[in-house]
């Protein structure tokens, strides 16, 4: 679906936080790699999607009222067979109903489960600075951003060349260059992703903040494993 339409519909529903599948669709529209997957509105559709994208899959409840999906029992991972998908559908729906009976359920996102071996987690975030407009943040995932605050910033637009310089500013860059038997990550792909995020922020003034966290970066590419967009 067109980015404008996704945003229009969310705003029409009175929502400022896009659901993961909506944010991921916008990411896709901008050429930002995400996990293959689609929103399924019933169990049959879920099985069909799984068949299409290939096993193993993960399934996540999509509801504006259910923010902490795991806490609500709304996430199932490592599903390897169609029967598992069907069973997971029921389990997730039951859990959701128990967690919040009044929650409006859009459906369940069925996504390809990506192998994380050899990959390193990075974060790309964007916010709207009152002085500089859209600002893009980059860092390694987890404690590196949260505790060490090892992050670098640029103001949109960020060219791929500038993004590469931004990436290389972080103190723990050696992790991306490769330690403990890992080779270097695909810097070109990561720089390209940052550049595309900056373009998204500039072209979509209704987007106030976004997070691609985590992004799995490995030797042959990068992929956002989750997506969050907050509208202005």
């Amino acid at each position: 679906m067109e980015t404008k339409k996704i945003i229009d519909e969310a705003l029409a529903e009175g929502r400022r936080a896009l659901l993961e599948y909506e944010a991921e669709e916008i990411f896709s529209n901008y050429g930002i790699p995400v996990s293959p997957g689609r929103l399924a509105r019933n169990a049959g559709e879920a099985e069909a999607v799984a068949g299409e994208i290939g096993f193993p899959v993960v399934m996540k409840i999509m509801s504006p009222q259910i923010v902490h999906k795991s806490d609500a029992g709304g996430v199932k991972v490592g599903l390897t067979r169609p029967e598992d998908v069907a069973a997971a559908w029921d389990e997730i729906m039951d859990n959701a109903a128990a967690y919040d009976p009044s929650a409006r359920i859009k459906g369940i996102l069925v996504q390809k489960m990506i192998s994380e071996s050899g990959g390193r987690e990075v974060i790309v975030g964007a916010s709207t600075d009152p002085q500089f407009g859209p600002v893009i943040m980059f860092g390694l995932g987890g404690i590196f951003v949260e505790v060490l605050k090892d992050v670098s910033f640029r103001v949109a637009p960020v060219s791929p060349e500038e993004a590469l310089r931004q990436i290389r500013e972080i103190r723990t860059i050696a992790i991306l260059d490769g330690v403990r038997g890992n080779g270097p990550i695909d810097f070109t792909a990561l720089a390209d992703l940052i550049s595309r995020v900056s373009r998204l922020m500039l072209e979509q003034p209704r987007v106030s903040e976004l997070d691609a966290n985590p992004i799995l970066a490995s030797e042959d590419g990068v992929r956002a494993l989750d997506a969050r967009i907050i509208l202005a």
């Binding site: 600075d129 009152p130 002085q131 500089f132 407009g133 600002v135 910033f153 640029r154 103001v155 310089r165």
Partner: protein, 476 residues
């Protein structure tokens, strides 16, 4: 996209090359701002220094209560002045500024410098007064510096259009500061260092003219070779980045940004009423725009001076030449700390030096080039010729520790000669004080950056390398 730097230069240059300057609120009383400013225009400033002179264009005190001040005719209103007046310095209460601005419009003034405080930084009423006079100025074609500022100094033209203590020596660094008090201190310090400025502007509340405007002017000013900024907040951040990116391709910009800590950020807001966001974002912005960051005031000034006088550095490879081993080691530590490369001399270079008959047999044969404590000017020359002419090194740090046999003036002359011959960045660390005075002063006169602490030498070299790298990148 982007500013027209030349248009902005033409608009702002009136503040630096006016035909006539009016002082609104000029006073006979010595303690008054209106007296200090007038005196500054007439004589250059309160503090004498060699070569100090006053402004040779028209100076017009304005004060309805006086007929004459300091030997000049005093006019009741700016509109009574018969000659052209390009700029007016406002030393009048905040409540009187709007009315005076209207008269300036009538007179055809093109620039106003408003020293008075009590505007945007002082609450809602002040903010309203500020908006009022800005609107009058904008409609009347007047650009405004301030309010709540020290003013504007342009030593190459002996123009002290400010409340500052005196005109600094003329030089090649243009300083733009959000703080007036800082400018005053720097002027005082600069006199003791013989450190000159092309221009100094304290811009206060930036109600009209802001940093991007001054950057644009400085980029075209023929006396300015490097730009120094002290900032707390930026206002229109996007305009700042766009203009700074354009300007930094032409001349180096060095910034000291205050308000890095949470408390510091709050202090910024009350100082000039400006917003200040996260420092980490600013750090990214500066790198993106090719701006060099200084960690403290000393760095801001020494890096700006080095960038103004030293040639563009083509890479990050540095040779350290020293007559004292310990200092060579320390310098190596700091150079590595800031990401400078220290390639070792190739065998051919070592052989040439060994066979020159000028080098000590126990010299290091390595980088740092430790040429031993008894090194004299000819030994320094031999090594400097090698490293300065070599494609292997982009810059040289020359350390001289003071030993009994050291000929510090002789060594200084060699350094200056080599610098002129090879046009490669040189930074000196002639470490001493009283006995090395002659050599140190000689370096200073010839604009070779010199430091007592090799850390400062290394960090300054880093700034040269970073800027050189940026220029090489953007010129592709």
């Amino acid at each position: 996209m982007g500013e027209n730097l030349q248009d902005l230069y033409r608009e702002l240059d009136v503040f630096f090359h006016p035909r006539g300057v009016a002082v609104l609120g000029a006073s006979r009383k010595e303690k008054k701002v209106g007296h200090t400013v007038l005196k500054g225009l007439i004589s250059g400033g309160e503090v004498p220094r060699p070569g100090l002179q006053g402004f040779r264009g028209g100076i017009y005190p304005v004060n309805p209560k006086e007929k004459e001040i300091l030997g000049l005719t005093c006019y009741p209103s700016i509109t009574d002045i018969p000659d052209p007046v390009d700029i007016a310095i406002f030393c009048i209460p905040n409540t009187a500024v709007s009315a005076a601005m209207r008269q300036c419009v009538e007179k055809g003034v093109r620039g106003a410098i408003i020293l008075t405080a009590g505007f945007g930084e002082a609450g809602p009423e002040g903010k309203q007064l500020q908006e009022e006079f800005v609107a009058i100025a904008r409609e009347g074609g007047i650009r405004v510096i301030g309010p709540n500022c020290l003013g504007c100094l342009y030593p190459p033209n002996d123009l002290n259009a400010s409340f500052g203590i005196t005109l600094p020596y003329p030089g090649q660094v243009a300083l733009f500061s959000q703080s007036g008090a800082l400018v005053d201190c720097i002027i005082d310090w600069s006199l003791s260092q013989q450190y000159g400025f092309s221009a100094m502007v304290s811009y206060g509340n930036k109600a009209d003219l802001d940093v991007p405007d001054f950057l644009a002017w400085a980029s075209q000013d023929e006396c300015t070779r490097a730009i120094s900024l002290y900032i707390e907040g930026v206002g229109d951040g996007r305009r700042f980045i766009e203009t700074a990116s354009q300007v930094s391709r032409l001349k180096p910009i060095v910034v000291l940004k205050a308000g890095r800590s949470v408390k510091g950020t709050k202090a910024v807001s009350s100082h000039t009423g400006s917003l200040s966001g996260s420092y980490a974002v600013y750090a990214g912005v500066f790198r993106q725009a090719g701006i060099i960051t200084a960690d403290n005031l000393t760095e801001l000034l020494s890096i700006s001076q080095a960038l103004a006088f030293q040639p563009l550095m083509k890479g990050r490879r540095v040779a350290i030449v020293t007559n004292g081993g310990a200092c060579g080691v320390m310098c190596t530590d700091y150079c590595q700390e800031v990401g400078l490369d220290l390639p070792d001399p190739p065998p051919e270079m070592i052989d040439r030096l060994d066979s020159s008959g000028l080098i000590h047999p126990a010299w290091s044969r390595n980088n740092p080039f430790d040429i031993v404590g008894d090194a004299g000017p000819e030994r320094y020359r031999a090594v400097l010729e090698e490293v300065m002419s070599s494609d292997l090194y982009d810059g040289v740090i020359v350390i001289q520790t003071l030993q009994a046999v050291t000929d510090n003036l002789g060594d200084a002359k060699i350094v200056v000669e080599m610098s002129k011959t090879y046009r490669k960045p040189v930074i000196a660390a002639f470490m001493g004080g009283v006995i090395s005075r002659e050599g140190i002063d000689y370096l200073s006169e010839h604009h070779i950056p010199n430091f007592f602490d090799v850390k400062a030498a290394a960090y300054t070299m880093k700034a040269l390398a970073d800027y050189g790298q940026y220029r090489a990148r953007v010129s592709d």
